[in-house]
Amino acid sequence: MLTAILAMVVLAGLFGLLLGYAAVRFRIEGDPIVDQVDALLPQTQCGQCGYAGCRPYAEAIAHGEADINRCPPGGETGIIALADLLGRDPLPLDEEVGEAQEIKLVAVIEEKDCIGCTLCLQACPVDAILGAAKQMHTVIRDECTGCELCVPPCPVECIKMVPLEPDLSHWKWPAPDDSRDAGLASPNTSEVA
């Protein structure tokens, strides 16, 4: 009985020392997972996920506090990418947070209505709005992420979200829907013998 206890206590004590030593000797800082997760988020910074931007959400995911399906701008592809990275199962987008938007939007300020209050400017998380107090503001189209955060603060409701018009250089082939009969409508030839 005594030998048993003694043997175990000594063994465990030694192991404890070993691990304690290892913990001190091999200490590391930082968490690379957060960066990896953040890199996959769309950086719209819209807060729809319920966090104060993409990075906080990334932190929550990395620490296992949030599901991977809460980012509407990232959409399905984003979820799949996250699932891949983290070895989790892809989930459908959480209904709570909203719906994935197929069409990209950008903010446009109706310039003649703008009173130069700078409220939108303060709201924009990526500094995509140019302007100074009492002067007309404009959105830098290429830098707007379409987060819509500037819309509610505007006191004169002069900010509109408009869809990005498709053009030739941004046109994408649609995903085949596996049924070939759709869209095979005959072309309109103007003359038939």
Binding site: Q43, D167, H170, K172, W173, R180, N188, T189, S190, E191
Partner: protein
């Protein structure tokens, strides 16, 4: 694998490929018809790969045939010339032959029927004595782009760079797609023009040898070309009959057949010392150099059973399909599908109201019997037929599975971007899976994701910069407040004349200062950046 065909040349056989019913006889019964000038010409500004051309005329301007109407913007670009004389009716968005159906900016010319030439540059018949740069400049001016379908500016392809020695020049007369016969007819009827063009290109690149590859289902073309070649007495130039197999006309495939060399993935032929041109391109080069004429027209095949009669036509660029079809007798039946290009790679059109462009080599009006079956796709049974016929030795099936799963990294690891979209895989698939569409979808999806990624990175930077700035502002504000407070207190302390009180005040201040210093170091992020 190689099989001896000509005296001393071994032809190489690429993996896969298809023996398709070629349907070429129908359109080779009649000679090329010159259709003349339509009342309206629609000239999209983007008929080539590269930068869109910039109009140099304005609505209402009168233009002459051959007059520059849009200039090239940047190195990889091509100018446009008026194919006939007339008045600029409009410069506006017009539909153009592209799978998206999206419009692009185009110049519309209302022709006056006179077809009056404007001033042309001086012809250069003795090009062999002419400076190469001058010749290149001429070709560039003429707006010549690859007429084999890719519409890449020819002058760019002909300037491979100082350190790239071109040892082999290849003329592509394979014309492997069914129905298309415009190159065939061109070779039969205008072989000398092609050979002259070849001679010009050869002078520019000075390769060791020139090879002209023609599929063996075009004996007349081969004969005509042989004759013209003999007449021209070009050295180290050979016309090679290659076995008929789709897609032997693909640039990389043809190069492999003729030389056994593989163009490495993501490289261009010039990287291994080879340049390949379509025969029509060569003919256009001859026009530009010998006659000083820009590219104003092209030969194309009008085919398909929905037409009364299939025929090749010589048409000005910008003519509408509808008008062209009328010129050769019109439709026989309602077309089931209209295709710009061949049945394997062509772009489906919504109607016949599109103009022909530099890259249009064929227009098919397919009758219901010729059009694809209207069956829904079934699940892939992994039969492997697609892999057996893929000329690039891809695994089309895997590309398909991973595309369906939207696992684009994996798709790329299966070399999606080596796919030449030849359509062989989809052709043989017993389950009618629109494989090529999956690949196109995957490609454009990957491109757009890359773009979005770039945009996201930019947004992240801006967001982080903003947060840093806000933090700094906040810090500064606090610092200002503190200073103000301190200043106030100092004044208060000055007023207090009780030395004891002052001592206490000073001590308190010291404590406060120390505290402030501590908080400042504890939040180092605050004042960095």
């Amino acid at each position: 694998m190689s099989l001896p065909l000509t005296k001393n040349r071994h032809l190489h056989r690429f993996h896969g490929g298809l023996h398709l019913p070629d349907h070429k006889l129908e359109s080779t019964l009649l000679t090329i018809l010159d259709v003349g000038v339509p009342p309206l010409l629609t000239l999209p500004l983007q008929q080539h790969i590269g930068h869109i051309a910039e109009p140099v005329v304005e609505v209402g301007d009168q233009v002459m045939k051959g007059q520059l109407i849009a200039r090239a913007e940047g190195f990889v670009s091509a100018p446009l010339h008026a194919p006939s004389s007339g008045r600029i009716q409009a410069i506006e968005e017009r539909p153009f032959p592209h799978p998206s159906g999206l419009p692009t900016r185009a110049i519309l010319i209302e022709t006056d029927g006179l077809d009056e030439w404007g001033p042309l540059p001086e012809p250069l018949p003795d090009f062999e004595q002419t400076n190469r740069d001058l010749l290149l400049e001429r070709i560039r001016w003429a707006g010549i782009v690859g007429l084999g379908g890719a519409t890449f500016p020819t002058s760019v392809k002909l300037s491979p760079g100082k350190n790239k020695k071109i040892h082999t020049l290849i003329l592509n007369g394979a014309e492997c797609e069914p129905y298309i016969t415009c190159d065939d007819m061109l070779m039969r009827e205008q072989a000398e023009r092609i050979i002259t063009g070849l001679a010009v290109i050869r002078h520019i690149l000075s390769p060791n040898e020139c090879l002209i590859g023609i599929e063996d289902n075009k004996p007349e073309a081969i004969a005509a070309m042989r004759e013209a070649l003999k007449a021209a007495e070009l050295e180290a130039t050979e016309i090679i009959e290659i076995p008929t197999k789709y897609p032997s006309g693909g640039e990389k495939q043809l190069i492999y057949i003729l030389t056994g060399e593989e163009v490495p993935s993501q490289h261009i032929p010039a990287d291994i010392g080879i340049v390949c041109h379509n025969v029509g391109t060569a003919a256009a080069v001859a026009d530009a150099v010998i006659d000083g004429k820009p590219l104003l027209s092209r030969t194309l095949t009008l085919g398909g059973d929905a037409l009364k009669q299939a025929q090749n036509v010589h048409s000005p660029l910008g003519a509408s399909i509808h008008w062209l079809i009328e010129q050769i007798g019109g439709y026989k039946t309602q077309a089931k599908r209209l295709v710009m290009g061949g049945p394997m790679m062509g772009v489906p059109l919504r109607n016949d109201d599109y103009p022909i462009v530099k890259g249009s080599n064929c227009l098919l009006a397919l009758s219901p019997e010729q059009a694809p079956p209207e069956e829904p796709a079934r699940p892939c049974i992994r039969c492997g037929e697609c892999a057996r016929v893929c000329p690039v030795e891809l695994l089309p099936q895997q590309l398909y599975w991973h595309t369906r799963a939207k696992d684009f990294d994996e798709v790329q690891s299966y070399d999606l971007f080596d796919c030449i979209e030849c359509g062989c895989c989809a052709y043989v698939c017993p389950s009618y899976i629109p494989l090529v569409q999956y690949y196109r979808y995957a490609k454009s999806e990957i491109w757009s994701q890359e773009e979005e990624k770039k945009k996201a990175d930019l947004a992240r930077q801006r967001h982080e910069a903003r947060q840093a700035r806000l933090a700094r502002l906040e810090h500064e504000r606090k610092a200002r407040l503190r200073k103000k407070k301190e200043a106030l207190e100092k004044r208060g302390a000055g007023k207090a004349d009780d030395p004891k009180k002052a001592a206490i005040q000073a001590a308190l201040k010291r404590v406060e200062a120390r505290k402030a210093a501590q908080t400042a170091t504890a939040a180092p992020n605050g004042d960095s950046t």
